[in-house]
Symmetry: C2
Subunit: 336 residues, 2 copies
């Protein structure tokens, strides 16, 4: 690690985050429930397969077009449970508040968390509140954890992708990160572009009804599509080829990316998922996705290959190929 | 709420924390799993009664005599599960790290979390890491959540205390808060006094074997013995009378309290529990507690009464009576 200090990039979801997990966390906490490193842990015992997950939210600003930290904290954890095929059941909500924070804003954020929980049919059943001195935290951090029971017969995991499989995405990429950046840096896209922040459990339910043999689901948050697919390629020891022409990105997001030198494949999303399924199921899965409001812009974007294991490549619009690596460094901090 | 701002006292565990929960949180998230407000939520469905809890740790300093934030974050959540009669099973661990934090210190803290998890026979199965800019957080905050299956036939809750019941405590009160304050403010007691930070699941197991009809367990953390007993008195609609002479407090802790004008009944503990049991079981419970290393200084400290419902009173050493209210304001912030 450079100079023995934590860098912003250690929290980016990219390469350094990955190193932190594999060099510092995994060697200490190694156990069979932790090791698959899916979006939720899968706890199997006589009481049935239970999914368990946690995320801290440190987004800045707290309010952004399309949501706020309360909605985000609920949706993010609901989505992590959904990605392992669980029906989200209960959430915990833990607040770290800076002294002097507005109670009115806190109430707005908690109402928004409640509304998101209702939309996702999940209950907030336990919580905690800590207050730290002015200056010891930036306004408000929220940590949510969630549990849910995994549907019988479903086994989604990043290790399951097989050569020949189809890769799908549920809609436009990058809306969340660009909406947050616009709000924070004052790029002036407010109103035009909203974060995609939304619970995905409804969409996942439809997809699993249509195709119980889905191999893998991921919500490409920090590090974006590129990082999620690199993780899958690496853990399934397969290659993944994407077709740039098929990847849905809004014009306004593309424009901002060009302006700022960002790559949409690395942008964070908070209401999108990647699915990998057997090729013969792809059309059925796509249809189920498009029939749901959260998946109406779904597309087939690529396929899993035996060649180039552990590598993601992009067939570009102009007919070339380029390797799409994990995010290295950080695009922007605190976008979730 | 004064001036519409969050105050440090909103995080103290005392009266303002209580108001924050009842005025702002409960009206929004009201549901039957949340409402008992025990240390863990009890989730009952066909998969069996599951306990689920969460806590954020913002302690300052990160290292203190007898422990550090890593050990604390594991023990605190293990203890919250234990207080509802659950066998702790799995933990999540979520880190919010300030940019520039030492990786070596992070490694020490995580090793300490691992050791505590091993001592408590619990596995850390999922986690998250966020990094915020220098100055946006004070070094490191940890949020742990935990799940555990509740022992069959056990129903511990703050609503269960009945007139005639006996109140016990597992040992010396206040060690944690005074050890942390000494370290932080440089009172110079370091080495003499250590935090009691420890997992209590072993002790609870022994107590429930000895007395499966235990009414209620609480770990008196923020707000101390006084606040925990006020919560029980209020929720069970009973009075509680304590005998000052029986309450175990170390000389060094008493001395510091006198010096600083603190009341030991309000000091935070991280390895102690309060038990309420039927009077005919009290000796058996006491014996089971004293037979365990975490309970060897256990004492019977009071009884539950029909008189003075929702009130805790203290029979003082000099023969008087005084009402022991909930903590109002904060003794010191960030002791857990």
């Amino acid at each position: 690690m450079p100079e023995g200090k934590i860098l912003l990039a250690h929290g980016s979801g990219g390469k350094l985050s990955h190193d932190l997990v594999s060099d510092i966390l995994l060697p200490r906490f190694s156990n069979p429930f932790l090791e698959p490193l899916d979006d939720s842990a899968r706890i199997t015992n006589q009481e049935g397969p239970l999914a368990f997950t946690t995320d801290s939210y440190v987004i800045n600003p707290l309010f952004f077009p399309g949501g706020d930290i309360g909605k985000l904290a609920v949706c993010g954890t609901v989505n992590d449970l959904s990605m392992v095929g669980a029906v989200p059941s209960c959430l915990s909500l833990s607040l770290i508040i800076e002294e002097g924070f507005s109670i009115e804003l806190l109430e707005r954020i908690l109402s928004s968390a409640r509304d998101a929980a209702e939309e996702a049919s999940i209950r907030i059943v336990t919580g905690d509140t800590k207050v730290v001195e002015h200056g010891a935290a930036d306004q408000l951090f929220i940590t949510t954890s969630g549990i849910g029971w995994i549907r019988k017969g479903v086994h989604l995991s990043g290790v399951n992708a097989r050569p020949g499989d189809t890769v799908l995405v549920s809609g436009f990429l990058g809306d969340h990160e660009i909406a947050v950046l616009s709000q924070r840096e004052g790029f002036g896209f407010q109103g035009e572009l909203k974060s995609d922040c939304a619970p995905l459990n409804g969409l996942v339910g439809r997809m699993l009804e249509a195709c119980p043999t889905l191999r893998c689901l991921r919500d490409p948050t920090r590090g974006g599509l590129a990082t999620s697919l690199n993780e899958i390629a690496s853990r399934s020891r397969v290659g993944i080829v994407l077709e740039e022409a098929q990847i849905p990105v809004r014009e306004s997001v593309l424009g901002t990316c060009e302006l700022l030198g960002l790559d949409p494949l690395y942008l964070a999303n908070e209401g999108k998922l990647i699915a990998i399924c057997p090729p013969q199921e792809a059309e059925r899965v796509l249809e189920a996705m498009r029939a749901h409001p959260s998946g109406k812009h779904a597309e087939i974007i690529g396929r899993v290959t035996e060649e180039n294991p552990k590598r993601v490549t992009l067939q570009t619009l102009i007919g070339g190929h380029r390797v799409v690596d994990m995010l290295t460094g950080t695009q922007y901090p605190r976008i979730c």
